[in-house]
């Protein structure tokens, strides 16, 4: 079959609506009579709520009701039910929602929110991981032992440890003591960062008079939202109808469960009127979750020849006040700590730790930007100490498909991808040993690389399903449960359908480009972890096969040939043995009708579903089989450092991924470029800063800088390696999250290689780098200053 669409560059199907500003987001949803909700949030990091006085708020014209935590005695959470709907009895961070004001206008709601008076009794706040782990530290969640916990997680009641995951493989202690082992010890840190979705979280909820609850919300995973909410507030699952229009960015923020229970309950409280809550940017960055802060204490042992023999790592994720999702980020960072390498001795302890700061959740990369920051920097440190090339040290340690075993005990599949090829393509494109002269004598050019591997982190039964419906004219409607948030999966699914039936792409409609509704779309666990195309793609291929079988069945009766002789492709059903016997697919769409009206067959509707095979939870040593595919990748950068100011300019970016099959290379390239820029932001600029009382002091996009157009790296190259995944849809693997993981490590590694300066903490701001150079290699700055201030000045006639 010659591919007409698969492997060709197809723009996203909703591009026209996006560029014309006419795509409808949840934000745009509005009904006559909709009321507005506004949050009242805590001014203290840790305090008992003594009293909430709403009387003045209720006097504001337009204010209808003020809800407080006591109104909603439910516990929320995906992996751990540690969240409340509104604060009950105590507040756990500055920004913790304490009350919600509902009014008939936004102005009234905001004015009402100002007038809610809350009396607090301050408690000692716990603002750092270090303090949280001390024996006498105040407890942030006294009732941790009573929360519901998902299988495979281990909170430690009576402490601030929301989860401890441990991975043991081989014997690190013994390995460290062997002769000829060089030991690298480092502590690495990452700050909390924001997802910065352009569309902030927003929900419109309507608790109907028939006790069905309808929600229009900006989310990634409508089915998870529906189930978690139903489970938390005790409703049958199908009483909740979640409508998910395309989201203006997700990046993990909009996975799991968000504000839906609160807004739905508010709707019920005000007499079942629709209520809308939209977070401002400041609220998004103070009251809603962000990415964890991260500390890694690492000890790594390498033989003189570069063999990576032992890796011991303690990870501490600063989870903030709630860890319902972050406990899985911590677990994932732990079980995949050994990355793309075959390390015979591994011991990892990964803690998710409560603090009285903004809560945290999933974010693009899910533990991998964290653990690869530690791992990939450590490899370059080792390379530098051992005098081995950074490419070579990786080449010697990469996992071998079909042979190696990960620290979790999982065998590396034969068809998992080709890590050696990723490395060699990266090295060929970047030429790390060839460094051009800098543009000025007081600058240095540098090149650096990082590799990565990642699998979706999901429960063993994370399933997907798909439906393919043929219409009267041969057009096809496709339904999956996959949220649409700009990632491109729906377009790739449409490409698969058009290719498989051999019909023009315009004839395929993917309904989730407009809306995924839990009432109409088939189930998908979540749209996270780069699993969408893989899991929903497999389900969709099964649905296509089911639909084709229905067509074949009817066609065999019409053609009077055996079913096994009928093929469906290129828009036709035909007999393989007598190919001139053929009819267009549309003739069978509603069953085949003879001229006299006799009909055989019936409307064609294909269904398919998928769940991972033989996956398990990990045991107490972190062992088990918990992945469905791994995608290997690598990032290379060429950059220039101004030694006078510490400014870094990335001149060239190279992204290499073994994605199995590029179903739509344009979208893959879009992911690689977009992921690079997102990674660049986290590497150079982004950091949520905290005041002494634990408040976020830069909850806006002036003081929290994300890359703009002028920050884009001028030259971005992407390379797609296609080692097919046997059970992947057309051989494909996911890539959406991977693309930002290697960026920061590649930049730090380039800096190390060119200057010998170690940077262990992001972001690498100009001042931070300048100070690090000044501390570690002052001679570089002195030399640059001499060149700049004294030499190399073109003498000119001054007047």
């Amino acid at each position: 079959m010659s591919n007409k669409y698969v492997g060709k560059e197809v723009p996203q199907a909703d591009s026209w609506l996006k560029v014309t500003g006419t795509l409808k987001y949840a934000f745009d949803t509005f009904f006559p009579g909709t009321l507005y909700a506004k949050l009242v949030t805590s001014k203290y990091p840790h305090a008992k709520i003594k009293n909430i006085d709403v009387s003045e708020a209720l006097k504001v014209k337009g204010v209808i009701k003020v809800a407080t935590g006591k109104d909603f005695p439910y516990r929320l959470g995906l992996y751990l039910s540690d969240r409340d709907v509104l604060a009950v009895d105590k507040v756990r961070w500055i920004g913790h929602p304490v009350a919600a004001v509902i009014a008939d206008s936004l102005e009234a709601a905001e004015e009402g929110a100002e007038k809610v008076k809350v009396d607090y009794e301050p408690l000692e706040p716990v603002l750092t991981v270090e303090r949280a782990l001390e024996k006498d530290a105040p407890l942030i969640h006294e009732k941790l032992g009573e929360y519901r916990v998902f299988p495979g997680f281990h909170p430690i009641p009576g402490t601030n440890i929301a989860n401890l995951f441990e991975l043991k493989h081989g014997d690190v202690e013994k390995a460290f003591q062997e002769d000829d082992v060089v030991i690298i010890e480092e502590t690495y840190r990452l700050p909390q960062i924001s997802h910065v979705t352009m569309e902030t979280q927003n929900v419109l909820a309507w608790w109907r008079f028939d006790d069905y609850v309808e929600l229009w919300t900006s989310i990634q995973s409508p089915f998870a939202t529906r189930f978690l909410m139903a489970d938390a507030i005790g409703l049958p699952v199908n009483r909740i109808i979640v409508h998910a229009p395309p989201a203006g960015g997700g990046f993990g923020l909009k996975a799991g469960l968000g504000w839906e229970p609160l807004v739905a309950l508010l709707s019920k409280l005000v007499g079942r009127k629709p209520v809308k809550l939209v977070l401002s940017r400041a609220e998004q960055m103070t009251s809603a979750p962000v990415r964890d802060g991260f500390i890694a204490k690492v000890k790594a042992g390498f033989k003189r020849d570069g063999r990576f023999v032992a890796y011991q790592a303690d990870f501490y994720l600063d989870a903030g006040a709630y860890a319902d999702y972050t406990i899985n980020v911590a677990r994932t960072a732990g079980y995949s700590a050994d990355g793309a390498y075959d390390v015979p001795n591994v011991h990892v302890k990964s803690y998710a730790v409560y603090t009285n700061k903004i809560p945290t959740t999933a974010m693009r990369g899910f533990g991998h930007p964290e653990n690869h920051w530690a791992l990939e920097l450590t490899l370059d440190r080792a390379a530098s100490v051992l005098g081995i090339d950074p490419v070579e040290i990786r080449r010697r340690n990469l996992l071998k498909p079909g042979e190696s075993v990960r620290a979790t005990g999982e065998r590396v599949r034969e068809d998992e991808g080709d890590p050696q090829k990723v490395l060699s393509v990266l090295a060929q494109a970047l030429e790390p040993d060839h460094v051009d002269r800098p543009s000025e004598p007081w600058k240095v050019r540098a090149k650096g690389i990082a590799l990565l591997v990642k699998a979706p982190s999901q429960p063993p039964n994370a399933g997907s399903s798909a439906v393919v419906k043929l219409n009267e004219d041969g057009t096809i409607d496709v339904l999956t449960g996959n949220g649409s948030m700009g990632q491109g999966t729906p377009t790739s699914l449409a490409v698969i359908v058009a290719e498989e039936f051999g019909i023009p792409l315009e004839k395929v409609k993917i309904n989730q480009l407009e809306m995924v509704s839990t009432d109409t779309n088939p189930y998908t666990w979540q749209t996270v972890g780069s699993r969408g195309l893989f899991s929903d793609g497999i389900a969709l291929l099964r649905a296509i096969e089911d639909a084709k079988n229905q067509i074949k069945d009817t066609a065999s009766r019409v053609f009077k040939v055996p079913v096994s002789d009928v093929e469906v492709s290129d828009g036709y059903a035909f007999s393989k043995s007598h190919p001139w016997i053929r009819k267009e697919i549309k003739e069978f769409a509603m069953g085949y009708t003879y001229p006299d009206g006799t009909t055989v067959g019936s409307p064609v509707i294909g269904r398919g579903s998928y769940a991972p095979v033989l996956n398990t939870f990990l045991d107490a040593s972190g062992h088990g089989s918990n992945t469905v595919f791994h995608t290997y990748g690598g990032t290379g950068v060429e950059l220039e450092i101004d030694l006078l100011t510490g400014e870094v300019k990335v001149l060239r970016a190279i992204q290499v991924y073994d994605i199995g099959k590029a179903i739509d290379p344009l979208l893959v390239k879009g992911q690689m470029d977009g992921g690079f820029i997102m990674g660049l932001g986290s590497a150079l600029y982004e950091e949520l800063k905290f005041g002494e009382d634990g408040r976020v002091i830069n909850p806006n996009l002036i003081n929290y800088y994300v890359p703009h157009f002028e920050d884009m790296t001028a030259s971005m190259e992407s390379y797609m390696i296609e080692t097919p995944q046997k059970d992947g849809p057309l051989g494909a693997r996911g890539v959406g999250e991977h693309v930002m993981v290697g960026v920061a490590p590649a930049i730090a590694n380039a800096i190390l290689r060119a200057t010998g300066v170690k940077i262990n903490q992001l972001p690498i701001t100009a001042e931070k780098l300048w100070k690090a150079i000044k501390e570690q290699k002052p001679e570089l700055i002195e030399k640059a200053q001499k060149l700049f201030f004294e030499e190399g000045i073109k003498e000119v006639q001054q007047v």
């Binding site: 936004l106 103070t286 100011t645 150079l684 002091i697 002028e710 920050d711 700049f788 001054q798």
Partner: protein, 288 residues
């Protein structure tokens, strides 16, 4: 100013958009102390949204044509206070004759905001982050300030009297900027920010050379910009450029006392001030 507000809405106020300057001045007098002048509104709207100020009246001056003019005479160039950053960049008068100002305008906010930011608003906010003030000060610019009582003219260097405070009285507004040069200027404006667009400056430097007159202004590092001229820089017109640059960077380094804040430390700002000053001087002397 930290921009931490959860609010979408503004406090209630009455809005005026006069077409004539006299009307604006009369409103300012009438509601003295309760009114704020709005040009681009970038800072004003944010301060209101932050609930940091509650003006009862807002007087929008963007409808007043005479505040939007740029004109050139033999004695200098006049720029209305409601001229936007984009208009400055697009004006041939500014581009050809006042390169430092054109460049400074390209740093005022991002590309979108530059259609809204005005030169008058940018300087009269009185914040260290102003891009306009260092450029105007390097060119010895004057500010024409009017109220219903009449007008006065002050050097641009006397506008800011402290962090976020200016010498403007409640019923006064800047109507015009007068640059006392109309041609022959060599000038530049350089800025170090921790990103390419929008972010708050670590250091900003404007330099000007006209015949035997030299000035270097360093902004963003203190409540008021630092002004140096050839005298305070002990510039020796007969000596080599490299000798002068070395000397000037040392003088700058020992005279500036930068603040430390969330953007940058004092130590770093001092070092970058020297580097940017030398870079700017190299540029205006053509010795880069």
């Amino acid at each position: 100013m930290s921009f931490t507000t959860p609010y979408f809405t503004l406090p209630k106020f009455t809005y005026f958009k006069p077409k004539k300057l006299e009307d604006a001045l009369s409103l300012l007098r009438q509601y003295k102390g309760k009114a704020k002048v709005m040009a681009g509104g970038i800072m004003l709207v944010n301060l209101m949204k932050e609930r940091q100020i509650f003006p009862e009246y807002v007087i929008d001056i963007k409808g007043i044509d005479e505040l939007k003019k740029i004109s050139k005479t033999e004695n200098g160039i006049k720029i209305g206070s409601a001229v936007t950053a984009i208009e400055l960049q697009n004006s041939l008068i500014v581009r050809d004759n006042l390169p430092a100002l054109a460049k400074a305008a390209s740093y005022m906010g991002d590309r979108t905001l530059q259609h809204t930011v005005t030169i008058g608003g940018n300087i009269s906010v009185g914040m260290p982050s102003t891009d306009g003030l260092p450029a105007l000060m390097s060119m010895d610019s004057l500010l024409r300030i009017k109220s219903q009582d009449g007008e006065r003219t002050i050097p641009a260097s006397e506008l800011v009297i402290g962090l976020g405070r200016t010498s403007l009285k409640d019923d006064e507004m800047i109507t015009e900027i007068i640059v006392p040069y109309s041609s022959g200027l060599k000038g530049t404006y350089l800025k170090l920010i921790n990103a390419s667009e929008v972010a708050i400056a670590t250091v900003a430097v404007s330099a000007l050379l006209k015949e035997r007159k030299l000035s270097v202004v360093i902004g963003a590092i203190a409540p008021r910009p630092y002004y140096f001229d050839h005298k305070s820089l002990q510039w020796k017109w007969e000596a080599s450029l490299s000798e002068n640059l070395k000397n000037a960077s040392e003088i700058i380094g020992s005279n500036v006392k930068p603040m430390s804040d969330a953007v940058a430390s004092s130590e770093y700002r001092k070092e970058v001030s020297k580097v940017l000053a030398v870079r700017a001087l190299k540029e205006v002397f053509g010795g880069a």
